[in-house]
């Protein structure tokens, strides 16, 4: 009888510490802990010198100043070599004028890719899919996004998520659907009947009912 082996790949989950790594990048050997104190967007792409990835790298470079304003660093990853990454970013700059200012992991041995569940065999057995891990300044995973090989990422959404997470952390609130900075935020729902009765009387809140109240920041 043929033995069927199924490889179970564990994926890092929200609220858990980001898996540690020490790896070669285009900016030298970096450890995850080097980013402690900053937020980090760790993202993977399938391969260098490919069309969708090139558009994404240009787009990531374009939002880099906005990310820095928010205390966020960027770190790319693919299973290509450092030499390939260097050749690609130089080519991008030569052809488009866009300098790639952030490091890229050369994950030839797939150690980081496997630790972060970036290889999805149903999409490709050899390349990483388009993952985004938003890691906070305490190195806790706060958001995980996966995109298929054929779909380039939306930079506005990545910035919006970071704004929402940082607003939640600062003000202890939640953010409603399609929230943008400046919009009203959701007040955490009351946990007792007494609090619910008090909540609907509070004039600073705009309430649909006791469990859905919004306020301005």
């Amino acid at each position: 009888m043929e033995e069927v082996k199924q490889q179970v790949i564990s994926l890092p989950r929200l609220g858990e510490p980001a898996p540690a790594f020490e790896t070669a990048t285009t900016h030298g050997v970096l450890k995850l802990e080097d980013f402690k104190g900053s937020w980090l967007v760790l993202f993977s792409h399938p391969a260098d010198f490919t069309p969708v990835c090139t558009t994404e790298f240009i787009a990531f470079a374009e939002i880099y100043p906005e990310l820095q304003k928010r205390g966020v660093e960027l770190l790319g990853l693919s299973v290509d070599s450092t030499s390939s990454h260097i050749a690609w970013v130089r080519n991008v700059e030569e052809k488009t004028g866009v300098k790639i200012p952030f490091p890229i992991i050369a994950d030839l041995n797939k150690e980081v890719s496997m630790a972060y569940g970036m290889i999805h065999p149903g999409q490709s057995k050899t390349e990483t899919v388009r993952c985004v891990f938003i890691i906070d300044s305490n190195q806790i995973i706060r958001t995980v996004l996966y995109y298929p090989l054929t779909t380039g990422r939306n930079m506005d959404e990545i910035l919006r998520i970071i704004d929402a997470l940082q607003t939640t952390d600062e003000h202890k609130v939640a953010t409603p659907a399609n929230w943008r900075p400046g919009d009203m935020v959701v007040v955490p729902p009351p946990s007792t009947q007494e609090m619910a009765e008090e909540r609907v009387k509070q004039k600073e809140y705009e309430c649909i009912d006791w469990y859905l109240c919004k306020k301005k920041l």
């Binding site: 900016h27 030298g28 050997v29 970096l30 450890k31 802990e33 080097d34 980013f35 104190g37 900053s38 660093e73």
Partner: protein, 73 residues
Amino acid sequence: MACISPDGKPTESGTKMLRALKSRLGSAEEIAKDAGLPLFRVRSGLRELTQAGLANQKGDKYEISDKGAELIG
């Protein structure tokens, strides 16, 4: 290596860090501010400079070594 070239000379970022270290004993955060480099680059760079004997670590602070000072003149 990001801070030291294969010929053993410090790169531009390595030189910035060594210059910052020359003026004072500093933490990675202080060196990043003085050198105008991202903190993650400085943490990684200080590891390299220390391993190469161009900087010395004293607790959570760093200082330039005699060899490092000689290299940047």
